[in-house]
């Protein structure tokens, strides 16, 4: 975990999966960190009248789990994110357990970029999130942890 992977150690097709139950406290801390106190995340009365029927987690907070396992397992600590795209395909309610698969789809040696994709499903198998994003592997040597 949290090791340096060299450019050559990162392979197209490498894949890691992680599962986590998304809780109210995750959302509370995310809300206080970002100032996003939107009613669909915080107001039960409001959220019950939306098409979701209950408060939901912020999609970008759930998406953040992708970068957690990228750094800890898939590409290591050297590459940096330069572009992310997320599709929020379903709601995540508090208490839902989300399983996120992240895999490497491309490596481009000329500009030292790595493209990864991800798919997240809840405990019922519904896809709640998709991602496609680009990281850059730095030319400068990575400091040792």
């Amino acid at each position: 975990m949290y090791q340096i992977k060299t450019w050559d150690e990162i392979g197209v097709g490498d894949r890691v999966s992680i599962a986590k139950t998304i809780t109210e406290i995750d959302s509370a801390m995310y809300g206080s960190a970002t100032g996003d106190f939107g009613p669909v995340h915080n107001d039960t009365g409001y959220a019950s009248k939306t098409r979701f029927g209950a408060r939901i987690a912020s999609g970008i907070m759930v998406a953040g789990i992708c970068t957690s396992i990228l750094t800890s397992h898939l590409v290591g600590i050297a590459p940096v994110s330069i572009e992310d795209r997320f599709w929020f395909t379903g709601p995540v309610k508090f208490g839902d357990t989300v399983t996120i698969d992240v895999w490497i789809v491309e490596k481009n040696a000329e500009d030292r970029t790595i493209i990864w994709e991800a798919s997240a499903r809840n405990q019922d198998g519904l896809e709640v999130l998709k991602a496609r994003a680009t990281m850059k592997y730095p030319r400068r040597p990575t400091p040792v942890v």
Partner: protein, 141 residues
């Protein structure tokens, strides 16, 4: 206008037999904050689907988060000039998210500036012991 009050924390000398207790329901918030402090995201503790496949039936509380209740009671018996210098704990049973835990500290010996305590945490339901052992306080000069 009242003069400002200065809070004072006198030195307290713990006595053998003195006890302190605290009770708390361990919540998903406690669990989330502990993960934030420690970086520990072990699936038995953060993945409800995984935890339901075990005999415990739901997510476990981090053992050291449960034991942290003891430090509250240790502060009570030790006063404002003692710090925890040692703990020796076992966790014979798991604590589940949502369990209410009673943490208890009893002073068993006071030798010089060292205070030894017997400590335990019990789940409300059935009085199941989830943490037990000893702790030592030392006076900070």
């Amino acid at each position: 206008m009242n003069a400002p009050t200065t809070m004072t924390y006198p030195r307290k000398i713990p006595k053998v037999g003195e006890t302190a207790q605290v009770r708390k329901t361990m919540t998903v918030a406690d669990q989330g904050l502990y993960s934030g402090i420690s970086g520990n995201i072990h699936p038995l503790y953060v993945n409800e689907v995984h935890a339901q496949q075990t005999s415990v039936g739901t997510r476990l509380m981090f053992e050291l988060a449960v034991a942290s209740l003891l430090t509250n009671s240790l502060t009570e018996v030790g006063g404002a000039f003692c710090r925890v210098s040692a703990m020796n704990l076992t966790f014979p049973n798991p604590t589940r998210i949502g369990d209410t835990v009673a943490a208890r500290v009893e002073v068993t010996a006071v030798v010089g500036d060292r205070v030894t305590c017997k400590v335990s945490c019990k789940r409300d339901e059935g009085g199941l012991v989830v943490c037990e052992g000893t702790a030592e306080l030392v006076e900070v000069k």
